[in-house]
Assembly symmetry: C2
Homo-oligomer: 334 residues x 2
DNA sequence: ATGAAAGCGCTAACAT
DNA sequence: ATGTTAGCGCTTTCAT
C-alpha cells in the first residue's frame, strides 16, 4: 500500500508561519509588491513547509484553469503520437498540464470528451477534429479557446495543418513523371482538403480522375486493410497508390503481399507521413514527410499565447524518395 | 477568432430555475434521495439551462480530483503509446480525465511533472517510473495513489508489468536451441528485472555470461543506435542479440544494415515488443510480444478501484517467431 | 506595503 | 425530503 496521506499545506499555514496575512503570501508568490524583508520571510516559510499552491483554489477563484485539452483520433498512430509529443513538449515549457482524450475519429465520442473538458473548466483545447463545423459550436460557445491541428474545419477556428495541397501535388507529379496514369488515393473521405487537392492534381496533369480512384477508409487498421485490399483486387488498372497516412500505408504493404502484388514492380506506393519503419520496410517506402511534432508544438504555442492568432498556419511537407515507386510497366498488372 | 465566451451556468441558477435549494440540486444530480416530483423539476431545469457541474467547485470541496495522471518516458514510442491508450480507454469508461506527461526517462523531469500533478490536486497517478525508490517518497507522502506500469521499483507500490523473466528466458532458450552461445542483451541497464533474468537464463543454460554481454542504451533513438552499432562492431563473437524494446530493435536493424551485418545470417535478432512494422521489416522480426495496451488498462483499473490492490500484476509475454533468427553459423562472423 | 474579508461553485453537515 | 449554511484554498478588491 501507499504510505499514509499527509494533509496538504495551505496558504493560511504559510501566512501564520511567516507571521503575515494570507494576501501577502499570495502576492509574494505571484510576484506582487512586497518589502524585501516580508518577501524573504514568506519565501522562507513556504520553502520550509514545502508549500504547493493548490491549483484548485486558484482556478476556482480565477475562473479558468490554464491547462490544455488535447483530442486526437488515435494515440497509437505514430503521427498523432508525434503531434501529441509536440503539444506536450511546448506545454511543459509553460508548466501547463495537458489532458489527453482519444476520439477514435468518432464525433460522438469527441463531443463527450469535450463535455468532460468543459466540466473541468479547461479553457484551451487543441483538437484533430472528427466532427464537422457545427459540432464545434457548443465548445466555442462554452468559451473554449480552440485550435485545430492537422485538419481544418470550415469556420473561423485557427488551425495548424500540413501543406496537403503541395504534398499531394508533389506525390502525383512524381508518380506521373514515372509514367503512371491511373493513380489512386487511399484515405479518409472526410479529409476533403486532400481529396480535392488530389483530383485537382490529376486534372492539372491531364490524368483520368474517376471518382473510384479515391478510396475511403476509416482510420482503424482493419478498415485500412479492407480498403487497401479492395483497391488492389478490383482495380488492376491502377498502377500507383498514394496512402493517406502511415496506417493506410502499412495496410497497403500488407495487402499487396497477401495478394502477391509486388511493390514497386506491380504497383508503386507513396505513403503520407514518414515513420521510422518506412526505411526498414521491404521495400523502403517513398513518403511525403509531415512535420507532426511541429504541428503539435505550433498549435500549443497558438493556444497558449493569448494574443490574437492567425487563422491558419500551414507547414511544409517533403517528398522522401526511397524504393517503393518505379516506372509504370507497359502492360496492366496480371 | 472564437465566438464570444458565455458565462457558465451555476448550480445556484439551476436551483432558482427549478424553485428548489442548491443542496437539492446537488443531491438529485448525484443520485441522492429526492421526491420524484422534485427530481423531475431539477432535471428539467438542468437540461433546459444545459447545466454542467463545475469540476473545480466539486473538487475543491471534496478535496480530490478523481483525474488520473499518466507519466511515460516517450509517447512517441509505440509501446508507451499503446500503454497510454489502455489507460485512456479504461479512464474513458469511468469518465475520468487523464493528464499525460512525458518524462524522457529523466528522474528530474519526472519529479517536476509530479510536482505539477500535485499542484493540480491530482490524486491518482500511473507511471512508468524513471527514478528509483526514494524518488517516489514525496509523491506518496503527498497522498498520491500511485500504480507503476511496465517497470517495478523497490518499495510497496502496486505494479502492472509484463513477465520479463519468462520473456527473456523464452528468448534465450529459443536462441540457445538454435545453437547460439554468445547472446547479448541490448537495453536499459536500469531495467534490472530483465537484466537479472537475462544473466540468470544464460547461467541456467550453461552459456557464458560476461558482463559485457549486456549493453546499455538510453531510450532515445540516437543512444539506441550508438549502442547497437557499438555492440555489432566490437563483439564479432556475438551471434545473437536480444533488443529490449522496439526502438532498440529498430536501431539494431539499422546498425546491422549500415555495418553490412546480415540478419539472420550473421546475427540473429529478437526484439522485445511486437509492433505492426515488425512484420513489414526485412527480414520480418521475431519478437517477444508484450501486452502494452493491457498493461495500461489494468493499471488504470487498479488506480481507479479504491479497494485494496494486489502488490503486483504480471502479464504474460509471447514469442512470435518470424524470420530474424537462424542457426548459429560454425565460424564467427567476419 | 499589508491585512481583512468577500466570494469563485460546489458538497455535506445540520436543521427543519 | 428539503433548505440553510459553512467552508474547501485561493486571489482580489478595499481599507488601512
Amino acid at each position: 500500500m501507499n504510505g499514509p496521506a499527509q494533509r496538504r499545506i495551505t496558504i493560511k499555514e504559510v501566512a501564520e508561519a511567516a507571521g503575515v496575512g494570507v494576501a501577502t503570501v499570495s502576492r509574494v508568490l505571484s510576484g506582487g509588491s512586497a518589502s524585501a524583508e516580508t518577501r524573504e520571510k514568506v519565501l522562507a516559510a513556504a520553502a520550509r513547509l514545502d508549500y504547493r499552491p493548490s491549483a484548485l483554489g486558484r482556478n476556482l477563484r480565477r475562473q479558468r484553469t490554464g491547462g490544455i485539452g488535447l483530442l486526437v483520433p488515435d494515440i497509437t498512430d505514430s503521427f498523432y503520437a508525434r503531434l501529441a509529443d509536440g503539444v506536450l513538449s511546448c506545454a511543459r515549457s509553460y508548466g501547463e498540464p495537458v489532458t489527453v482524450g482519444v476520439t477514435g475519429d468518432d464525433p460522438e465520442r469527441e463531443a463527450e470528451l469535450i463535455g468532460t473538458l468543459i466540466e473541468q473548466s479547461m479553457d484551451r483545447l487543441i483538437a484533430v477534429p472528427s466532427g464537422d463545423g457545427d459540432m464545434w459550436a457548443p465548445a466555442l460557445r462554452a468559451g473554449l479557446n480552440v485550435v485545430f491541428a492537422d485538419r481544418r474545419v470550415r469556420g473561423d477556428v485557427p488551425s495548424v495543418v500540413p501543406d496537403d495541397r503541395a504534398g499531394v501535388l508533389t506525390a502525383v507529379e512524381y508518380l506521373a513523371g514515372l509514367g503512371h496514369r491511373k493513380i489512386a488515393y487511399l484515405g479518409r473521405h472526410a479529409q476533403s482538403q486532400r481529396v480535392a487537392a488530389f483530383t485537382a492534381a490529376l486534372d492539372s496533369l491531364g490524368l483520368p480522375a474517376d471518382r473510384d480512384l479515391v478510396v475511403h477508409a476509416r482510420s482503424s487498421r482493419d478498415s485500412a486493410y479492407a480498403a487497401a485490399a479492395g483497391l488492389l483486387q478490383h482495380r488492376p488498372d491502377v498502377t500507383a497508390v498514394i496512402a493517406g497516412g502511415n496506417v493506410l500505408g502499412e495496410a497497403a504493404v500488407l495487402a499487396a503481399r497477401e495478394l502477391d502484388v509486388r511493390i514497386p514492380r506491380d504497383v508503386s506506393l507513396i505513403m503520407f507521413d514518414d515513420v521510422p519503419w518506412a526505411e526498414l520496410c521491404s521495400p523502403p517506402l517513398t513518403v511525403i514527410a509531415q512535420p507532426a511534432q511541429d504541428i503539435g508544438y505550433r498549435a500549443a504555442e497558438l493556444v497558449l499565447r493569448q494574443g490574437r492568432r492567425p487563422p491558419t498556419v500551414t507547414l511544409p511537407t517533403q517528398l522522401v524518395v526511397r524504393a517503393s515507386c518505379g516506372p509504370r510497366v507497359a502492360s496492366p498488372r496480371r
